[in-house]
């Protein structure tokens, strides 16, 4: 029971780490950013390369974050921003195209085979109360907490966060208030992409593997979380991640054969949305 | 003569905000009733409650003595209440012709008749033209609302409401944002509609025109009826002056 609870929390925090970036992007551009998963995979690959060369996890994380920031910036600048005036489904499809392209690019560059990403930390695992947590999992928990707190602080406590929200609601008027839209959007993408990169590296070391298709499930499943959280709400995303993580864990532990985890996630989402159509932390419109 | 629209003690609150505490109102056939009151008094909320956008927490709404409380908005619209919105809600990306046609065809659309897969909608172009001409927008018939200035969009909404062939027309600040040049003919149109037998409920802050147009005024304040009566009397009511009109 304790172990299952821990399993749920850890799954949930990995989800949160990935979904928070999506929430940010959705929050500012109102785009369902499928290619976020490509950024995530990119982070894992860059991290792997950097780690192989330097042997330092910190450097690997920095390299991944930097690389993905550039990737995120390019996506935002040259793909999404010019499409903002279009119907919302158009950037979504562009994003899908980009995701297909990136996934295949990773395959061509890194080969179709799985690559191991083995990082040994200063301890292996801790056992307590008949439960076990590995060092990787502890690292994930800490990283998630730090990243989420930073993002939350930026959004709710700073002028930049206010500008993000304003830009999301009415770009033209935000501009008229003196917001440098381009800068604000860029900054948003850089943070979101860096976190995706970190999530990529964390996922890779947790599962000791990097492969071109590691983003494919994530690409759509994270939307269940973003939507459940209320689309654009950071605390909502965190709570939703934990709910989904927990329900998947407990469902697959006790009724594993009823349905696959993805379906569990989406079922949970649909059931909650029917009761609360605006998501957990969304505002009723 | 029974009132065409009778509203009894409606109340509506949003979370903590009591937008309507208790409002009653009667609209007589063939009259123009002005609904005035300070900003935030609950006028728009009142409209929305009558039109079925919100369900009132309390109270009843009768249209031609028929209880329509809690009916969905489209049914009330078909029963004969046409309305415009304070913050315009045009169908932004379709031509004015189709904007008006939607309401014109409401009875065709609602039923499962052959006319639903009807022969060309174009057949009704003349009627649409007439309705747009009424508010001076005939020349824009093929343009979309996005390309029109706000004032035009507001007038288009009146055409659209009229296309419902309503018994009651409810206008939410039709003159706001219109220049004097445009208001005068529009006021004429409204007067004409009344003469042709329509009953009109009008929210407006443009006092000179309200005074001229309306046969009766009802004043709301803090979600309650303050008073009602002929314009000349309301204008001199000290409560109205302090709460709303100013010196």
């Amino acid at each position: 029971m304790v172990q299952q609870f821990l399993n749920g929390i850890i799954t949930g925090s990995l989800y949160a780490l990935i979904a928070v970036g999506l929430t940010m992007v959705y929050g500012i551009l109102r785009i369902l950013h499928i290619a976020h998963a490509a950024v995530f995979v990119g982070g894992a690959y860059i991290g792997l390369v950097a780690y192989t060369f330097t042997g330092s996890l910190v450097l690997a994380l920095i390299a991944a974050a930097a690389g993905c920031s550039v990737l995120g910036y390019l996506i935002q600048r040259y793909l999404y921003t010019p499409m903002l005036t279009e119907e919302r489904i158009v950037p979504l499809i562009a994003s899908v195209g980009l995701f297909i392209l990136c996934e295949d690019l990773f395959r061509l560059l890194g080969g179709p085979y799985i690559r191991a990403f083995k990082v040994d930390l200063w301890f292996e695992k801790i056992a307590f109360l008949e439960a076990v947590v590995t060092a990787h999992q502890v690292l994930i928990l800490i990283t998630t907490a730090v990243c989420l707190l930073v993002v939350y602080a930026v959004i709710s406590k700073t002028k930049l966060g206010l500008a993000w929200q304003a830009t999301a609601q009415d770009m033209d008027t935000a501009r008229a208030m003196g917001v440098n839209i381009r800068q604000v959007v860029t900054f948003n993408f850089i943070i979101a992409s860096s976190i995706a990169a970190i999530a990529g590296v964390m996922t890779a070391i947790n599962y000791n593997s990097v492969l071109p298709t590691m983003g494919s499930v994530i690409s759509y499943k994270m939307f269940a979380i973003v939507v459940l959280g209320g689309m654009g709400s950071i605390p909502g995303t965190v709570v939703a991640s934990l709910i989904i993580g927990m329900s998947e864990t407990f469902m697959s532990a006790y009724f594993g054969f009823i349905m696959p985890r993805d379906a569990i996630a989406f079922t949970a989402m649909i059931l909650i949305l029917i009761v609360r159509p605006q998501g957990l932390f969304g505002r009723a419109r | 003569m029974p009132p065409i629209l009778r509203v009894e003690n409606v109340a509506k609150s949003f979370g903590g905000v009591q937008a309507l505490r208790k409002v009653s109102l009667q609209l007589m056939p063939n009259e123009i009733l002005g609904l005035i009151g300070p900003n935030g008094a609950g006028k728009t909320t009142f409209f929305n409650t009558v039109c079925g956008v919100f369900r009132p927490d309390e109270g009843r709404v009768f249209l031609e003595e028929r209880d329509v409380t809690g009916w969905p908005a489209h049914r009330i619209a078909r029963m004969g209440i046409g309305r415009t919105f304070q913050i315009v809600k045009p169908f932004r990306n379709i031509s004015l012709e189709r904007n008006v046609l939607v309401a014109l065809g409401h009875d065709r659309i609602s039923g499962w008749r052959p006319s639903m897969l009807g022969t060309g909608l174009k057949a009704h172009r003349d009627e649409v033209r007439r309705l747009l001409r009424l508010v001076g927008l005939e020349e824009f018939i093929d343009q979309t609302p996005t390309t029109l200035p706000l004032g035009h969009q507001k007038r288009m909404e009146i055409s659209r409401a009229l296309a419902l062939r309503p018994k009651v027309l409810m206008l939410d600040e039709p003159f706001a944002g219109l220049s004097e040049e445009d208001i005068v003919p529009l006021a004429g149109v409204i007067k004409n509609l009344q003469r042709e037998g329509l009953s009109i409920l009008l929210i407006e802050h443009n006092i000179p025109h309200v005074m001229e147009l309306c046969s009766r005024l009802a004043v709301l304040n803090f979600g309650e009826n303050l008073c009602d009566g002929p314009p000349e009397i309301i204008r001199r009511d000290p409560r109205v002056i302090t709460a709303y009109l100013g010196s």
Partner: protein
């Protein structure tokens, strides 16, 4: 203060404003009047750099700001009450006001200005934590005006100031504008209530189908019989 030279604005193939030139002197209160669709909003938005297809040049304080982006123009001291209020619907009233002061760095002045706006429009204080989108039309208009003055602009652009406001407040905001102007703020006012606008303005331009057709002191225009007939309901 503001000098606009042969400004044109187009939407696709349609030219909404053609070659208008005007100026607003330091400390002046200038108003634009004109029928619906005359191009007032387009002109104002062009001054701030919010419309894409423009030609002509815009000078602010003797500096050519034509190449500057909207946010940079705002930084140099312009603010706007936009047509249709354009309140951020999901930000609270207070956050909306903070957005108005986006370019203002000084926190104490920001707090003071918030208090000042709340004093002007007490209802906003009551609603301070409500989402802006839930306000009534008039309340939103007050918020839009309050938001625009938050940044203590040098040049205030107002598009439809009295729209949706109740009569007492119409008088009140005209007094406010007059007072701001007296305290040194330069103001460009677009207003449908031409009567009142000409009452407070120093000068006025009359726009018709995208062109300036008349330009004179406010007093003269008020006496002009044609203007009276067309715009003043007289």
């Amino acid at each position: 203060m503001l000098k606009v030279d042969r400004l044109s604005v187009s939407y696709g193939e349609y030219r909404a404003v053609s070659e208008v030139s005007f100026h607003v002197g330091q400390g002046e209160l200038v108003t634009f009047i004109g029928a619906n669709g005359a191009g007032k909003t387009s002109t104002i938005r062009a001054v701030l750099g919010l419309v894409q297809q423009t030609t002509g040049s815009i000078w602010l304080d003797g500096r050519d700001v034509t190449p500057l982006a909207a946010h940079e123009r705002v930084k140099s001291g312009i603010s706007i009450v936009p047509e249709g209020r354009k309140i951020f619907p999901e930000l609270s009233v207070l956050q909306n006001l903070h957005m108005g002061a986006y370019t203002l760095e000084d926190q104490t002045r920001l707090a003071r200005n918030v208090d000042w706006v709340f004093e002007l429009f007490p209802i906003l204080k009551q609603r301070r934590n409500q989402p802006g989108g839930n306000l009534s039309g008039g309340e939103q208009q007050m918020l839009a005006i309050g938001r625009a003055v938050m940044s203590e602009p040098k040049l205030l652009l107002i598009d439809e100031m009295s729209m949706g406001l109740m009569p007492i407040f119409v008088d009140k905001v005209f007094e406010l504008v007059k007072k701001l102007n007296r305290d040194g703020m330069t103001i460009l006012l677009v207003e449908q209530n031409a009567q009142k606008a000409l009452g407070v303005a120093d000068r006025a331009y009359v726009l018709k189908t995208g062109r300036i057709v008349l330009h004179d002191s406010a007093d003269n225009l008020r006496k002009n019989p044609e203007i009276q007939k067309a715009y003043l309901g007289g």
